[in-house]
């Protein structure tokens, strides 16, 4: 009940409610000190005479406006038309291109490098084939850390 009344206090103060509801709130306020307290607090700030005064613009505003109009009138009309049309033309495509570039970059960065792995595997296979051709895998002892040891190891793994 109290919440319902308190929510409508500004409407009540402005007389924006139907007569019946105005009467209901008035009757409630007469008996409820809490809601009356809220009413008084809001009334103190919501009266029209308590609303703030007008703010005045700078006295130079007219001079600035005149200067702008003068500049506008001295510039050939086609320049303004061009500016306006360029703004309209460029704004959307530039945004679209930026989004597109972001998508492409995302796809590029997110894709695993399959082609590089494939090329590397192919190179290893070629080397293994070459070592078989040269008979490098026939040696019993291959000095560790040499090209031969790498090829033999790879060749054994492949097979």
């Amino acid at each position: 009940m109290h919440i319902d009344i308190q929510e409508k206090l500004l409407l009540y103060l402005d007389g924006d409610l139907p007569d019946e509801e105005m009467k209901k709130i008035r009757a409630h306020l007469a008996t409820c000190s809490l809601c009356m307290e809220h009413h008084d607090a809001l009334a103190a700030i919501w009266q029209p005479e308590r609303s703030p005064g007008k703010v005045t613009p700078s006295p130079f505003l007219w001079t600035r406006l005149q200067a702008r109009i003068k500049e506008y009138e001295q510039t050939p009309a086609f320049v303004w038309d061009l500016k306006r049309s360029l703004q309209g033309i460029t704004a959307r495509p530039v945004s679209a291109l930026a989004v597109l570039a972001a998508i492409v970059a995302g796809i590029y960065l997110g894709t695993p490098r399959v082609s590089q792995n494939y090329e590397m595997t192919q190179s290893i296979n070629q080397l293994v084939g070459a070592s078989d051709d040269l008979g490098l895998n026939q040696f019993d002892v291959i000095p560790p850390g040499t090209l031969g040891s790498t090829l033999i190891t790879t060749s054994t793994v492949q097979k």
């Binding site: 308190q6 924006d16 809220h38 809001l42 700078s58 702008r68």
Partner: protein, 192 residues
């Protein structure tokens, strides 16, 4: 001095500079105030006011006088202020400034001439700041309605023309705005 709006519009459309100056002198305070209430920044409000009259200057020949000239100027002011606010938000977002608004709210003009003492003036400023913050937190459409109604004292019908909605819609927005404001202001009861 033009006796009625019809004469003023005719002279404006004929390119009379004196008429344009009169239009500016008559309506720039209202336009500026609407922009200031919406943007909370004097410099931004002046920029918007300049934009409004520049646009009016360029569009006057197309003005069909279907509404009052003040309604037309208010409508441009509201739209320009909304655009300005969106651009400022975007600029702040792009500059990764997620902190408080950069608005250097100058509330020196908030309270009109008064004979009250400094304590009373400070108290009223505090109170108005709380109210203004509550209004700023409303959705745009409710905020515009309440600003035009409370600060400009415009009738529902004119607000409906400015916002291009029905009078019933303005009533509904104001109703919702006032309920929300009452909820937001009550916790500050002791400060008010």
């Amino acid at each position: 001095m033009f006796v009625n709006e019809h004469d003023l519009i005719r002279e404006l459309q004929a390119g009379n500079q004196t008429a344009f100056k009169e239009l500016f002198d008559s309506f720039s305070p209202q336009v500026f105030n609407v922009a200031y209430r919406m943007l909370q920044n004097k410099q931004d409000a002046e920029d918007v006011t300049q934009e409004v009259f520049f646009q009016a200057y360029n569009s006057l020949k197309h003005f069909r006088a279907e509404s009052q000239i003040s309604t037309w100027l208010y409508r441009i002011a509201v739209n320009r202020s909304l655009n300005h606010r969106r651009k400022s938000k975007l600029t702040r977002w792009l500059s990764l400034d997620f902190g408080e608004s950069e608005d250097d709210t100058d509330d020196s003009g908030f309270i009109g001439p008064t004979e009250d003492g400094p304590d009373v003036v400070i108290e009223r400023k505090d109170t108005e700041r709380i109210v203004q913050e509550a209004i700023n937190s409303l959705p745009d459409q409710q905020r515009i309605a309440i600003l035009l109604h409370r600060y400009e004292g415009l009738p529902y019908e004119e607000i409906s023309k400015i916002m291009c909605v029905t009078v019933a819609s303005v009533e509904s927005r104001l109703h919702r705005a006032k309920v929300t404001l009452a909820k937001k202001l009550l916790p500050y009861k002791d400060e008010l």
